[in-house]
Symmetry: C2
Subunit: 228 residues, 2 copies
């Protein structure tokens, strides 16, 4: 059976990605990273999702990059802003996050002799992070082709990003076909400990509009005071 490492944050995209990898017949090894994010609800969601899709194994690796600072997602002193229509990269950007995540996935994939890494980046409805763009993914693939013993010995590890050209509505429609239970996913940048969303951050806005556009019922649970 072919094996894949699937990066699983606990959000809508990575849940869809796991469902997709699973539907393609991969034995899935889910990898979540505890990088010091302020809210841990997404990691709890990741556990539920890995379980729901019967991942062969689920590892939560603790990478304490949050202590180095630099992002509204890890630093208590930087507030998560409301969604803004802007071309600027927002303060929720975490320095080198996807590079770090993909690197760990690459190491684990090589150990497992998995031939594919699935990652749920999208370059359409996204927060403008540089490490979600197709050219970034292509560069990581080129690096991976040189980085590992597996690649040198003729078994390169493929980086698959099936959602990269899908907008949020298309991702949700895909996930809906693949029976993703979006009620257990947590997308919000500042979900509370019960996994309830704020309703106004960048990530919440993209998700909310995605369900509207997809014509599907949004199962997101919102925090009572901010329920909109």
């Amino acid at each position: 059976m072919k094996k894949a490492v699937v990066l699983l944050s606990g959000g809508l995209d990575s849940a869809t990605c796991l469902a997709y990898a699973s539907s393609k017949g991969y034995e899935c090894y889910a990898l979540s990273i505890d990088y010091g994010q302020k809210q841990l609800a997404e990691l709890h969601a990741a556990k539920k999702i890995a379980n729901y899709f019967q991942a062969k194994q689920h590892e939560i690796v603790n990478i304490p990059i949050g202590k180095l600072g630099g992002s509204a997602l890890t630093d208590q002193k930087i507030e998560v802003p409301a969604h803004l229509e802007s071309d600027e990269i927002p303060v929720t950007y975490v320095p080198a996050r996807n590079t770090i995540f993909l690197s760990i996935a690459l190491g684990w994939a090589e150990i497992l002799q998995a031939n594919t890494i699935f990652a749920g980046m999208s370059s359409i409805d996204y927060s403008g992070y540089p490490d979600c763009r197709p050219e970034y993914v292509k560069a990581f693939q080129e690096l991976a082709n040189l980085a590992t013993k597996a690649a040198v010995e003729g078994h390169p590890i493929r980086i698959a990003t099936p959602l990269i050209y899908l907008n949020k509505a298309q991702t949700i429609q895909l996930g809906d076909k693949l029976n993703v239970d979006y009620s257990i996913t947590v997308t919000c940048y500042q979900a509370d400990h019960q996994g309830r969303a704020c309703g106004y951050c960048d990530s919440c806005m993209l998700r909310k509009k995605g369900f509207e556009k997809a014509g599907l019922q949004d199962p997101t649970r919102y925090q009572p005071q901010k329920n909109q």
Copy 2:
């Protein structure tokens, strides 16, 4: 003052690299990774070296990839072999190690607004690891140019590998000029808790020959029973 992140394992190469960065006028932020290596003597050495060269800051980040297995350097069940003349990548290879280390360095460099990362890879006297080759470093540079907010905003982070074309003797001669105290560095793959070397692993052999060829006294301390 220009800032640099310097990857510091505690070995001969990274100590030389730190000395070099420092001699070029960089304010140095030393980064060591505790990745579950069996021997911790090199991390103790890293502390001494960071201190010796007055690094502005020294971070030891714990990245528990060792628990995922896959290398003689992290897995108690895989023995570190004696040096072999072979073209094969040895069992001391750690899957995706340099990719993971450089990724963490990239994140920290961006947070610090450092414009350079120094890493002590050599492609001449080395163990044949794929992630020490010049083409690998070039691919990481290309990735870094796409991965960060800093790069998108016109401040790319440079990956400097000043030792990449030096053989071990040349590295030692460079370090000697830069006043590196090699007696505090630990190169051995299985040093004991006092930092004393085995004298027969790949890394020990390269180091020993390097001092011979450089015509300099080798200050390496060997474990008594294996002193050769």
